[in-house]
């Protein structure tokens, strides 16, 4: 297309967005939703399949207790009501990613309904209403071959691996979110981030977007102020937190450009492209009735015992938002300071560093300073930078013990990041320890005095500030491995001057 897209500022000045998010999370159970096949990622094709997940005649599914429990816990963490009685449903469709020609899901009787998740966007609280949380099963993986690009268009045949088919999947659907205005992309991202943190704290999934265990579909529509909500599109293939934000923004801009030209938005599925940051049309969305949902006859209803639900609720872990608030108090941080830690994705790293013995100030200094800088420069996530919280705590311990100066510690850290081992080992291997041997230091001091007689005289004459030049000379001969304060004291002592 050659049309010029409007600027985002113009879009939000003219239109109001409504967004909605559907998130699928693969549960970290040992086995699939309805059979005992293992669920671990990877594995040779069709090695984790059985008559049930292949939909062979005569096989019968039985629901996984751990998956039902995980779904209830997710519902409780999202402040949902838990259904007293609900059924599975068959979603009928003909596509080879499910061998049965249907997917077992839930339709009008989800296990959890009507909840909310509080998130923060630029320090402001936003409550996202949750419509439903339901159980279903994941699909197989389809490989399209014969086409030039490996994509579905142009393919001549498809090869299917059913290892993933039947892995427990939980779908979490928000109610439509109006009123976010220009902040809609940030709200979408904040919601998925917070949801991911909640799921991680529950331990129900490894929530890795890049591996597909957390997947997000983003619904977007635009309307003029005061008018009805517009026709929405559903953007799929959104595989990172950053993409969630980009997908909403680019779809808002695209829709505004269509509407401004007098066009209409088609209700359809769109695909997000990581490389270009924009969306392209998929197929027109079939209406819900085309799936011909009906109660799954092979699975009996789920009726969670209220006592069980109450026990699960009582045993929920501290949720991330409350946890962060508690940490902020413990660490004595201002809101902006805490925000910068959140933005850097450093909360858990700093927490672990403190647990390993560092003070909050020191832990924050290393992760937000040197390590964040390196992460930004190299474009990797802070958590993947190559230094662990334990190593950072050890490094600070060496500084506190006077074995490393701050400058030497930075050098050691560089080698830690490069994977050379623990700070103590690197310090020893590379002989980076502060020169605390007084004999060696005294020799270096005497040498500096002898080499700079004029300066030494000035200091003797009372110009204590001139000692700085001598300190510099000593630091040079010790390759920076001496503590400047100690050197200075030693120089003054040798010259018979009071500091």
């Amino acid at each position: 297309m050659t049309t010029t897209l409007p600027a985002y500022d113009e879009v939000v000045a003219r239109y109001e967005p409504v967004i909605g998010l559907e998130t699928h999370v693969e549960l970290g159970t040992n086995t699939k939703m309805f059979c005992g096949c293992p669920t671990d990622f990877g594995g040779a094709p069709n090695t984790r399949v059985c008559p049930v997940c292949l939909g062979l005649p005569g096989s019968l599914p039985v629901a996984n207790r751990a998956a039902v429990e995980a779904t209830i816990r997710i519902g409780l963490a999202l402040n949902c009501s838990i259904a007293q009685w609900c059924r599975f449903a068959r979603k009928n469709y003909y596509y080879p990613d499910m061998p049965k020609n249907y997917q077992i899901s839930q339709y009008d009787e989800p296990l959890c309904v009507d909840g909310y998740l509080d998130v923060e966007v630029n320090g402001e609280p936003v409550r996202i209403s949750i419509e439903r949380v339901h159980m279903e099963e994941d699909t197989g993986k389809t490989l399209h071959v014969g086409g030039a690009t490996g994509r579905i268009h142009g393919a001549t045949e498809s090869l299917v691996d059913y290892n993933r088919a039947g892995i427990p999947l939980v779908e979490i659907v928000t109610k439509p979110i109006p009123g976010a205005g220009a902040m809609a992309p940030e709200v979408a991202r904040a919601y998925v981030t917070e949801l991911r943190d909640v799921l991680r704290s529950l331990g129900v999934s490894d929530v890795r977007m890049e591996e597909g265990s957390l997947r997000c579909d983003v619904n977007t529509s635009l309307n003029l102020p005061g008018e009805q909500w517009g026709t929405r599109t559903e953007t799929k293939n959104v595989n990172s937190l950053r993409s969630v934000e980009r997908a909403v923004r680019s779809e808002m801009i695209r829709q505004a450009s269509v509407l401004a030209a007098g066009g209409r938005i088609t209700q359809e599925t769109r695909h997000f492209h990581e490389d270009t940051g924009d969306t392209t049309s998929g197929r027109s969305k079939e209406t819900a009735t085309d799936y011909r949902y009906f109660p799954e006859p092979d699975l009996v209803p789920i009726a969670p015992d209220p006592t069980w639900v109450a026990e699960l609720k009582a045993a929920l872990p501290e949720l991330p938002r409350l946890h962060r608030r508690r940490l902020q108090q413990e660490w004595g941080l201002s809101d902006p300071d805490m925000q910068s830690i959140l933005n850097a994705g450093a909360v858990e790293l700093i927490e672990a560093t403190i647990a390993a013995g560092a003070t909050p100030t020191a832990a924050r200094k290393w992760w937000l300073g040197e390590l964040s800088r390196r992460a930004n420069e190299t474009g990797v996530e802070l958590a993947d930078i190559g230094a662990t919280p334990v190593q950072v705590a050890e490094l600070q311990g060496l500084v506190d013990a006077g074995k490393l100066t701050d400058k030497l510690a930075r050098t050691v850290l560089e080698h830690v990041v490069a994977g050379e081992g623990s700070p103590a080992k690197i310090m020893a291997d590379r002989k980076l320890e502060v020169v605390s041997d007084t004999g060696a230091l005294t020799a270096a001091v005497d040498e500096a005095i002898a080499a700079n007689p004029a300066i030494a005289d000035k200091v003797r004459g009372g110009k204590v500030a001139a000692a700085g030049a001598l300190v510099g000379a000593v630091m040079k001969t010790t390759r920076g491995q001496a503590d400047a304060k100690t050197v200075r004291e030693l120089i003054l002592e040798r010259l018979g001057v009071q500091g």
Binding site: H24, T29, N30, T31, G36, C37, P38, A44, P45, N46, T47, R48, V49, C50, L54, V62, A63, N64, R65, A66, V68, W85, R87, K91, Y93, Y94, Y95, P96, D97, Q103, S105, E136, D138, T139, T142, L143, H144, G146, I152, A155, T156, E157, S158, L159, V160, D161, Y162, L169, K236, T269, G282, R283, Y291, R292, P295, P297, V300, P301, I302, A303
Partner: protein
């Protein structure tokens, strides 16, 4: 009035990936209509206090422990497949569709 129209039968055939000829549509629409009208008689005796039956047994919460069981070998899994390649099920190309979830 017919319980199911010819257009609805054509729509269902398309969803079910069945190639149905015009003549077959005429026949099937008529036959399905008779079946549906017969089933609809049940609706005449339903009462408001009787919930629709979805399961024939009065059971709930039949659950399984999360314990790994044995799988088929890929050879066994693929033995009933019409075609296979690279240890995967081989199917004709699919256009203009995407996954359900």
């Amino acid at each position: 009035m017919a319980a199911i129209s010819r257009e609805e039968v054509a729509h269902l055939a398309r969803l079910s990936r069945l190639a149905v000829t015009e003549e077959e549509l005429d026949t099937l629409a008529g036959q399905l209509d008779v079946i549906l009208q017969a089933v609809a008689q049940v609706g005449e005796v339903t009462a408001a206090d009787i919930p629709p039956t979805s399961h024939s047994v009065p059971l709930t919460n039949v659950l399984r422990d999360d314990v790994v069981a044995s799988c088929l070998t890929p050879q066994e899994a693929l033995s009933g497949a019409p075609d296979a390649a690279e240890q995967r099920f081989r199917v004709p190309r699919i256009l203009d569709e995407d996954v359900a979830s």
